[in-house]
Assembly symmetry: C2
Homo-oligomer: 308 residues x 2
């Protein structure tokens, strides 16, 4: 099979064990060292956690489901508001309005600024005060390597975070797949009615400028492969270019049989530390040299499907 030649080893952030195992076989038939699949295969089941259905959102598109894990520790008001809005069906029938290459995909109400046409809501809040950062006295798996934008980076609750040593503040970082609440110029003009996801190189200059509230844990390719918008900032120019949102649901409100059952490797587990070391020091036969370092955007956050 020709796939075995001229390849590059996998560097994907969302990993499913089955795929990993195959990728490892493809990358090297005689591995010198443990592959990522080996590291994960040696994990204990207690090192994995199921998604909490109360903090999981399903963005339902015509061609599949995007699963988003919410981050209530970092953006409690925004998370609560997105759930409230989802529960009053605010997002159902709205659209993906923007796809800017190497930047973001964004969805919301195409008629948000037309009083007579805009989607109504009664329980959710129109806007919220920003939740750009918070206290850092929380569990934190620190990366051993430096970062360009912050004094420390690492992981908390399964999310990529940065921490400032002086101010002791911690915040979610704009890594690939992170989901945030768009805002206008006033800092309190967001709130979650319009959401975006990072689809390119981590735009870390947005950190602490806009409220991040979650991360795509499955279905990212449904967003990242959308046709790019040709208007300013990647907005689509014509309504027929929009991607319709069938529904956006809190997973807890979906019958159990229809839920997407995923497990995520705990970022405070010994195996996750081994994942980091495995990626810092690439010893697969393919590699001529190993960086010996890693930047937060290149650390995989392993996800696996629960076998029912």
């Amino acid at each position: 099979m020709r796939c075995r030649s001229f390849h590059l080893p996998s560097g994907v952030s969302l990993l499913v064990i089955a795929a990993l195992t195959l990728a490892a076989l493809g990358a090297s038939e005689k591995p010198k060292a443990k592959s990522m699949a080996d590291v994960l295969a040696e994990s204990k089941s207690s090192e994995w956690r199921e998604l909490d259905p109360e903090n999981t959102i399903y963005l339902e598109l015509m061609n599949g489901r995007v699963v988003i894990e919410l981050a209530p520790r970092f953006a409690p008001q925004h998370v609560a508001n997105v759930k409230t809005l989802a529960r009053e069906h605010y997002y159902d029938g709205l659209s993906i309005l923007r796809c800017q290459d190497n930047y973001v995909v964004q969805w919301g109400d195409p008629n948000a600024e037309k009083p007579e046409l805009k989607r109504q809501f009664t329980k959710g809040k129109a806007t919220l005060a920003p939740e750009f950062d918070g206290e850092s006295k929380v569990p934190f798996t620190k990366l051993p390597d430096p970062d360009v934008y912050a004094s420390e980076t690492g992981f908390c609750d399964g999310f990529p975070v940065a921490r400032d040593k002086k101010s002791r503040k911690m915040w979610l970082t704009h890594c690939y797949g992170m989901v945030g609440a768009g805002r206008d110029v006033p800092l309190d003009s967001g709130g979650g009615r319009e959401l975006y996801v990072v689809i390119g190189h981590a735009p870390r200059h947005l950190d602490r400028n806009v409220t991040l509230l979650g991360r795509v844990v499955q279905g990212m390719e449904l967003l990242s492969s959308l046709r790019r918008g040709t208007g300013p900032m990647g907005f689509y120019e014509k309504p027929e270019e929009y991607t319709p949102i069938k529904a956006m649901r809190v997973a807890a409100d979906v019958p159990e049989s229809e839920r997407t059952m995923l497990e995520l490797l705990r970022t405070d587990s010994p195996t996750f530390k081994r994942v980091i070391e495995n990626r810092r020091n690439r010893r697969e036969e393919w590699f001529a040299m190993s960086a010996g370092r890693i930047e937060i955007g290149n650390v995989p956050l392993p996800v696996r499907t629960v076998r029912k």
Copy 2:
């Protein structure tokens, strides 16, 4: 127009002045500081360079053209070989075989390992010794900020590069849009018959492990928005999923009237230094705070269409 609300300012890497001007208007109606469009509008024409048609490749797809600038200073043998192969029409009718989310798109011969079916070539070389890095005594616009993977980063000839202070070696970095020559396990198993482009967060751990030879300067969205492959490492599982390559041409071999006329901002120009400072210190009204730093993958490399 609703696009004015709930947005994020542009962070795109490939910029065309017209789009920039509109984006700046969208981002803030009363800019506090110079926008990127302002900075570029103040540039001198001598700070821009045209693409050299002898070092430009057109990857022609059914729905458009991808323009790739080659990097002969960094990968002279690979650049020469890709041009030779293009000139003997090696790539014409081959396919995009792989699209791995947040990683790479890759094209080549689907039958490369079937002796009776594989595409023949007579002038190009099947494989080449790697060109992972080179001497660093070359013009270099250094970024003032640190990097996670290298002691220094910056730009040379319009390409993102890293430099090691000790060894004085310099190499192209795996930033978004960079093009390289896939290889198998042996270091000299590449050569340019199979090419890849980075479509996600910069996989910098690949630096000095695989030969980079150019960068997409226009048409990136034709590759980055392809449907992701579902096989191991994002390879497509069925031939009908391949994207056909109509042709791959050296621009110099295309009639002048059919060439894509672009200019790139010289990375050794005063205006490019101002672009870097403008992105390090975001002062547009939208920003609550500015990072005051920038990582190489977030530095835009401005491109504009030549007005005929």
